[in-house]
């Protein structure tokens, strides 16, 4: 008799549970069958904190993304694609709303979309013709799915693909209750310890909060180096996961959805390669050493680190990307073999990047240099076998109108995005694309302190609004000739800097006036 392994058993159990879930929600909706489905399906695969600047697909010297390059052979690749913001909240919400953060106002750590606009989310606009399923391993992204829950047939719990709990939190999986976003704020961010964004925040429940500290016993075990994970098992703030399990499980879920419903609209937001960077052993030391540029420290940098200090982090980040890319390769093979890509668009993107320069690291920074906002975007049309490169600047906010157009849906007037070149839009090298960071501002008031960037015609303007340490400063870079953004051309091209600043502020003022 052939034995069944624990892993196989868990997979079967998960598949059975998922099937039951689908069967339960199925009869409530009338979906087109695969045979007569006139509209294409869409699958968005988002890898959190994946910087285009660290991907060999976009010319990085370390070979971090061979599998994404394989996917690119059948996809349209956007070489100048920008996130709406520099961290999860504005980055993700800009994709899901087709608006810049200054309009949808999801700007704070763990913030929500402006309530009066939330109904215009991508799931709602795609309509009930689609079976709309969404999953986010990043809890701040999952907050949006909680906010959009009425537009989702299947809000996949953030704990679905976990390996092991890191914290004691029985409320994490309660994602489908009508008030699930407030339940998240109450229990996950307040009563049972904070979410890690601010160590000075104490748990609101003394005894249960104290007991939650005992999680460190479990944490120590999986954080300890092991043969498989020399830097410990990867985790988000609440649970551990293993990429070689998560991505095939996600692929299986997509396969199930695509096999059962047509058309589908699936959004899968994966935590990796977000920090902590914990590649598997086979990827550690798999990439060559490269020199790290010593850029001058920035007055607003949150840290004062030297290149020697962040070189090991960069290496680990790159190795982690290579690990994620390997998982993506397996997912791609799984979906291709199942024929899912024959009638669905597959989009690979990220909500923001990572930054290791000018003294600062990661993405909790007011700096908006390209490494933290230049993200990948690859789109393969159903059954596509051809490759195309787009070099005109595009933005995360373009995905929503493009999908609506491809799905023959009406594009709301309030959206700020355009159709992506290659999918109904034209390449416009002179177009302006914006990103911003205003995490400490009020979502309900005009911006007081923010960093804004604008890319146009190969030039990039960064404007610092309201920082006492760097008041009303402007930086201007030529991205075509100075990709590392080393030479500030503000004083050499004052007219251009002033014109770009004026355009930026006009947009910002218009957004402030909408309040």
């Amino acid at each position: 008799m052939t034995g069944i392994s624990r892993r196989d058993f868990l997979k079967l159990t998960a598949a059975a549970a998922a099937s039951l879930g689908l069967a339960r929600s199925g009869p409530a909706y009338k979906f087109l069958s695969s045979a007569d489905g006139a509209r294409p399906g869409f699958i968005i695969l988002l890898f959190d904190a994946m910087s285009a600047r660290h991907m060999s697909l976009y010319g990085y010297s370390r070979e971090t993304t061979p599998n994404l390059e394989r996917f690119a052979r059948r996809a349209t690749v956007y070489h100048s694609h920008y996130a709406g913001g520099s961290f999860t909240t504005p980055g993700t919400s800009s994709i899901l709303m087709g608006m810049y953060p200054w309009t949808h106002r999801a700007i704070n750590n763990g913030g929500l979309i402006k309530r009066s606009l939330a109904e215009q989310n991508i799931f709602s606009l795609m309509g009930k013709e689609y079976y709309r399923a969404a999953f986010a391993e990043n809890l701040w992204a999952d907050l949006f799915l909680r906010q959009f829950r009425s537009a989702l047939e299947d809000h996949i719990s953030p704990t679905t693909f976990k390996y092991l709990n890191k914290t004691i939190n029985p409320f994490l999986g309660l994602a489908d209750l009508p008030d699930s976003d407030m339940i998240y704020y109450s229990f996950n961010q307040f009563l049972l310890t904070g979410d890690g964004s601010d160590p000075e925040r104490w748990p609101g429940l003394p005894l249960f909060g104290y007991l939650d500290y005992f999680r460190v016993f479990g944490e120590q075990n999986l954080d300890a180096p092991s043969q498989e994970y020399p830097f410990g098992v990867p985790y988000n703030n609440f649970y551990y996961f293993k990429i070689p399990q998560t991505l095939p499980d996600v692929a299986a879920r997509i396969q199930q959805l695509a096999g059962r419903f047509s058309p589908i609209f699936g959004y899968f937001h994966l935590w990796s390669p977000h920090e902590p960077f914990r590649p598997r052993a086979e990827f550690v030391d798999s990439l060559p050493d490269i020199p790290i540029l010593d850029k001058p420290h920035h007055p607003l940098a949150s840290n004062q680190l030297s290149p020697a200090e962040y070189a090991p982090m960069v290496k680990l980040y790159d190795e982690y990307i290579a690990d994620v890319d390997d998982g993506f390769g397996k997912l791609l093979d799984q979906l291709t073999a199942a024929g899912v890509l024959d009638n669905n668009y597959l989009v690979v993107t990220s909500d923001h990047g990572q930054l290791f320069e000018r003294g600062d690291i990661f993405h909790s920074t007011p700096l908006l240099f390209d490494s933290v906002i230049h993200v990948p975007l690859l789109i393969s049309a159903p059954g596509s076998k051809t490759h195309r490169d787009i070099y005109a600047p595009t933005s995360a906010i373009d995905i929503l109108p493009t999908f609506l157009s491809l799905a023959n849906k009406e594009i709301p007037a309030r959206g700020e995005g355009r159709l992506l070149p290659g999918f109904g839009g034209q390449e416009d090298l002179t177009r302006s694309v914006f990103s911003m960071d205003a995490k400490y501002d009020s979502a309900f008031a005009p911006f007081q302190q923010a960093t804004l960037s604008m890319v146009k015609g190969g030039m990039k303007l960064i404007y610092y609004l309201g920082y006492a340490a760097y008041p009303d400063q402007v930086e201007l870079y030529n991205l075509r000739e100075d990709i590392e953004e080393l030479e500030n051309l503000r004083d050499q091209l004052p007219g251009l800097a002033a014109a770009m600043k004026e355009e930026l502020l006009t947009n910002l003022t218009a957004a402030n006036n909408l309040l």
């Binding site: 704070n108 009508p178 109450s186 307040f190 609101g204 429940l205 005894l207 400490y440 009020s442 309900f444």
Partner: protein
């Protein structure tokens, strides 16, 4: 049979009430204190009704935690011979609650970041249990301490009149938000 054993082992309602009032004061008080510390963070992106919703969930969670603490205390009471806890439940129960919750509050206040948990969390927990037991069984022998503790716990009953209606209102709000 069970009822008879429990009535022999458990204190009466009039003894439980002041001890529970102390638990309620400490649990609800800490939650309110931290709630107001979080306000500056929420106020940037949550509206008034959402911030009030968090308050309501907090009140319900406080009810659950305070009842949990009370039941643990009553469980200990049921296990130990009556002369250890039941017979002087108000004094010993109140002292145990003050020591345990007080220690936890000090810990949360001073050690929010736990990198060396073996040197902090475990010894702190062990010391807390030891001090609580010592306080409950030794200090209660002093007439002055006993009178002071009884006065304190009786005075705390007023907080039940404040927090219980607020919790009931919170329950209605939470129910409404999840059914609407």
């Amino acid at each position: 049979m069970l009822t008879r054993i429990l009535s022999r082992r458990l204190p009466g309602f009039h003894d439980i009430l002041p001890v529970y009032a102390v638990v309620v004061f400490m649990v609800y008080g800490w939650t309110l204190f931290t709630y107001f510390r979080y306000l500056h963070y929420w106020i940037d992106f949550l509206n008034v009704s959402e911030i009030f919703a968090i308050f309501c969930y907090s009140m319900l969670a406080d009810l659950a935690e305070s009842l949990f603490i009370l039941f643990v205390l009553l469980g200990i009471c049921a296990i130990l011979p009556p002369q250890f806890l039941k017979d002087r439940f108000v004094v010993r129960g109140t002292l145990a609650v003050i020591c345990v919750l007080g220690s936890i509050l000090v810990f949360l206040n001073d050690f929010p970041d736990l990198n060396d948990y073996l040197l902090t969390l475990l010894p702190w927990t062990a010391a807390t249990i030891f001090v609580a037991a010592l306080a409950a069984f030794v200090s209660a022998r002093s007439g002055f301490v006993a009178r002071a503790v009884m006065w304190l716990s009786d005075s705390m009953i007023i907080f039940l009149y404040i927090f219980m209606p607020v919790t009931a209102l919170s329950f209605v709000v939470v129910l409404f938000r999840n059914l609407a």
